[in-house]
Symmetry: C2
């Protein structure tokens, strides 16, 4: 084997998807970037969508690994959850392909990009859901539906990190952590 053409293609496509988005990335461009003939791409991937899917799966694994690493046994549930959610959203905010997909959704309505974001979020939610389930079994959290709880936590975080600053001055990382703690962990009921 001289060179791993599959890997070359994935690297080229990944770069192009991040740089120009799904729609603006052409198979010819990918072929040129990877120094392979266009036909070669189709020996590894049935079509453009599947090539994108492959890169998406890598992205998901990446964010999952990063998120996993934030969970530290010695820390409290609150600290762990906050770090977890913040890491995921920082990843979303900083990773080129994520940024590009978000832009592509708002500017055009590219279904592939929409599905991409949805899949990443769904993977994160599954992981978060698992962590919540463990916390319940450990006795750190009250019994509750892990899936719904993960959904609620993630949406609230998303709202504070991405939507709040549309109409208000952005919140500090610390402030978001405190709000998360107050609303979700402690509860608002007067004691």
């Amino acid at each position: 084997m001289s060179v791993d053409r599959r890997k070359l293609i994935i690297e080229a496509a990944s770069k192009s998807f991040s740089l120009f988005g799904y729609k603006a990335t052409t198979m010819e461009q990918v072929a040129k970037l990877a120094n392979v003939g266009k036909g070669t791409i189709y020996t590894f991937f049935t079509n453009k969508e599947e090539l994108f899917e492959e890169i998406l799966q890598e992205l998901i694994k990446h964010v999952q690994r990063i998120a996993q690493e934030t969970i530290l046994a010695r820390d409290s549930f609150h600290d762990n959850m906050h770090r977890f959610l913040y890491t995921v959203l920082e990843f979303r905010r900083e990773h080129d392909l994520m940024i590009r997909m978000t832009n592509e959704i708002t500017e055009m309505g590219t279904p592939a990009a929409k599905e991409g974001i949805r899949k990443v979020e769904s993977a994160v939610l599954a992981l978060l859901s698992m962590k919540i389930k463990e916390a319940i079994e450990r006795g750190d959290l009250r019994p509750c539906d892990p899936e719904r709880t993960a959904f609620a936590m993630f949406r609230m975080y998303l709202a504070f990190v991405l939507e709040w600053e549309v109409t208000h001055p952005p919140l500090e990382k610390e402030e978001i952590a405190n709000l998360f703690d107050l609303y979700f962990v402690e509860g608002l009921a007067a004691r």
Copy 2:
């Protein structure tokens, strides 16, 4: 005075905005529907935007009145808040003009419709914020920033009512109330 032309115009425009949306509503169409000349509209409203604004203000007053009525002194904070939020979102789900604006945002990106939704939500948030402030003063809630709390509550409700059912079976009104209570009022911390 024979007929209140201003009122005729507002009724016709309201119908058309609800039926076809902001962009697809033409001033000529409104004039025909109202049985007035096109020029007459411009004796009451400086332009299309102001005509829309007027109808939006009526919509905001309407949702505010309806939401206000859900607050009953004899009921608990939890019951009141839930009824409040649910009423607002039911209004959003059922009112023709709200539905049409939401569609217009997702299908095209009409700025007027986007601003419209934003204004209604902002008015609701202000009202909710006030109610939370009262609850804190009354001692029903812990001290917290009313604006941020209103934002968090509303976003979470929106997420459960509108977004959850994109990927899951929809939640019953009762279930949402319970989740709201568990996450927001009681808190998830093990006791």
